[in-house]
Amino acid sequence: MGAMAVARKEWREIVRDRRSLYSGLFFGVWGPLVMGIALLATSRHQGELGAIEIGGQGASQAPALAAFLAARDVSIVEIAGDPAAAIRDRRTPALLIVDADYAERFAQSRPATVTVLHDSSWTESNRHAAHLKSLLADYSRAIGDTRLVLRGVAPAAIAPVRVIERDYATAADRSGRALATMPIFILLAAFIGGMSVAADVSAGERERGSLESLLLHPVSRAAIITGKWLAISAAAVATVVLALVTSYAVMQHPRLQQLDLPIGLGVTDAVLMLAALTPLALAASAVQLLIAFQARTYKEAQTKLSMMIFLPMIPGFLFAFGSIAPSAWMGFAPMIGQHMLLTDVVRGEVPPASRFIGLTVLTLIAGAIACRAAARQLDRETVLRRAGG
C-alpha cells in the first residue's frame, strides 16, 4: 500500500518534471540510431568501389597507363592548378601526377615517376588512393615482366615470392562486425534509463529536504524503497523497450536489408531480449538507488552513477573485439550473462532455457540484495544529513 503510494507519487513528479526521464529515454533512441548510422557508413565505405574518377595532371604523357587504368574502371580527369589544393578542397579524392619526363624515361627503360596525392584523414581519399596504387603496382609489374621477357629473362627469376591477397569479406560481413556492438547499446539502455530518476528520487529528495518529511510517515523503509525502486525500474524498462523498438526500426532500413546481414533483430528476438533485460533493468535500478542514497545532492549522485555506465560496456567491448572468450560461468553472471544472451539472440541462436532462467534468478537476487541494503541505509541517522549539514 505504502510502496504503491510512493511509486505513484514518484511517477507523477517524474512525468511533470520530465528532465530526469528524458535523459534516459533519449539514450533509448540515440544509441541505436548512432549504431544504425555507423552501420550504413560501414556498408557504404567498405563495399566495392566500382567505376571511379580521379584527378590527373600530365596523364596525356602516359596514354598506355591511362588506358590500363581505364580498362579497370579508373578514369582520369585532368585537373588544372594547384594539385594539393584540389585534394584539400576535396574536388577529387586522389590525384595522379605524371612527371614531364615520364615518356622519355619510360622509352629509355629508366624508372618513370608518377605521384599519387591523397588525404589520409579522408576515408574516401584513402580508399581511392589505395586502389590506384594497387593498379599502378600491377601496371609496373606487367611492364617489368614484359621487358624481362624481351631480354630473355624469366620474370619468375626476379620474383621468388609473389604475394596474392584476397579479402573474402563482403560488405555484409564488415557491417555484421559493426552490428556486434548492438547488444552493448541495448544493454546500456537498462542502466541509463533509470539513472537520472534514481538520482532524483533519492539524493534529490534528500537535497530538497523532503526526505525527512517522508520518513516521518508510518511507512516501513522497505515500502519507501520499493516504491522508489518501482519508479526507477519503470523508467529503465521503458528505455529498454524504446531502444529495442528503435533498433528494430533501424534494422528495417532498405540498405541494411539488402546487405543480407549475418545477424539481425526480428520481433521475436526483441521480445526475447526484453525478457532477458527486464531483470537486469530491475537489478540495475536497485543498485542505482543504493548508490544514489549515499549522495547528499542530485549532482553528487549523478557523478557516482555515471561511473557505473562503464560497467556494462566492459564485457561488451571485450567480447566484441575478441579480447576474452565467453565461458560457461559467465552465462550466469548478471550483466555479462545478459550480454551473452543478447549476442546469441542477434545471431539467431536460441539460448538454453536453463541459462536464461538461472541468470534471471541470480540477477533478481542481486537486485533484492541491493534493495535491502538501500532500505537499511534509509534507516541510518546519517541519511538525514543534507548538503552542507
Binding site: 500500500m1 525527512e212 510517515h217 511507512v219 543534507r386
Partner: protein
C-alpha cells in the same frame, strides 16, 4: 501524551543529549527552548523515531517509539523545520499523498482534506503546484500534511520560522485550536513572545540537558526576571558560565 524518559544520545564522541526527561500532557502546549546545539533537534528526532537514543525511552500514547516506530509515528503529526514540499505536486496532491501514507480510509479522505484546506486557508491554493507557493503557504501546507490523519500528538519544529506576521498568526491560532481539542503539542522555537502567547509549559535545554521546566510564570519566579527572554538568557548564561 508524549513521555521522554532519560534519553541519551552521542554522535561519535559528542554527547548530543545527556539524560533528557519531560512530558507533554494531552491538551497542553509545551515549548522546547534552548540555544543552538542544546540538543533540541536530537530530542525531537528521538520522539519521531528518526534517531534511536543510546539509552532511555520515548513513549507516544504509551507506545515505545524505538520498539514500534511505525505505530508511534501513526499517532504523531510532525511539522519539521525544513518543510520539504514536492515542487511538482499540487497542494491537494500533497495531502492525498500523506493520507495514503498514513493509511487514512478512502471514505474519510476527501472530506478531511477539504476541511483542512479550508481551516488552513489553503482552499484557493488547492490546485497550485507547491513549487509556486510562498514560504508561509508552504508552512501552512506542512501543518495540513501533519494533521491529515488527525493525530493526538503534534510536534512543531520552529513553526513560524520565516513567516510574515499574518501567516505566523494563522499557524499559532491553529496550534491553539489543536491543543484545545485535546492534542499534546510540543513546540520547538526561538521566539519568546510565541512561547508566552502559546505555551503553558516550558522545557529549557542547554548543552544536551534539561535545565529547567515549568510554566512561563514559574520560570519568571525561579529566575526573578521580568520577561521570559531575560529569564531564558539568565538560565542559559548560568548554564554556560556567562553570568
Amino acid at each position: 501524551m508524549i513521555t521522554v524518559t532519560d534519553i541519551r544520545k552521542a554522535f561519535g564522541k559528542t554527547a548530543a543529549v545527556k539524560g533528557v526527561s519531560f512530558e507533554v500532557p494531552n491538551g497542553s502546549i509545551t515549548a522546547l527552548l534552548g540555544p543552538n546545539g542544546a540538543g533540541k533537534t536530537t530530542t525531537i528526532r528521538s520522539i519521531t523515531g528518526l534517531v534511536r537514543p543510546d539509552t532511555g525511552r520515548v513513549d507516544v500514547d504509551g507506545i515505545q517509539v524505538a520498539a514500534q516506530p511505525i505505530a508511534a509515528r501513526a499517532r504523531l503529526g510532525v511539522v519539521p523545520e525544513h518543510i520539504g514540499v514536492y515542487d511538482h505536486l499540487t497542494v491537494r496532491e500533497h495531502l492525498e499523498y500523506s493520507a495514503d501514507l498514513q493509511g487514512v480510509a478512502a471514505a474519510m479522505r476527501h472530506a478531511r482534506i477539504e476541511r483542512l484546506l479550508e481551516q488552513l486557508g489553503l482552499g484557493s491554493l488547492a490546485s497550485r503546484l507547491a513549487g509556486s507557493l510562498s514560504l508561509g503557504e508552504r508552512r501552512r501546507l506542512a501543518v495540513a500534511r501533519a494533521l491529515v490523519h488527525e493525530p493526538a500528538n503534534l510536534v512543531f519544529d520552529e513553526p513560524t520560522n520565516g513567516l510574515d506576521v499574518i501567516s505566523a498568526r494563522e499557524v499559532r491560532r491553529e496550534i491553539t485550536r489543536l491543543a484545545a481539542s485535546g492534542c499534546a503539542i510540543l513546540v520547538s522555537t526561538h521566539v519568546m513572545p510565541e512561547v508566552v502567547a502559546l505555551c503553558n509549559r516550558v522545557v529549557v535545554m542547554a548543552a544536551g540537558a534539561v535545565i529547567a521546566t515549568g510554566t512561563p510564570g514559574e520560570l519568571l519566579q525561579q529566575t526573578g526576571r521580568a520577561t521570559l527572554e531575560d529569564a531564558f538568557v539568565h538560565m542559559i548564561g548560568s548554564e554556560e558560565g556567562l553570568n
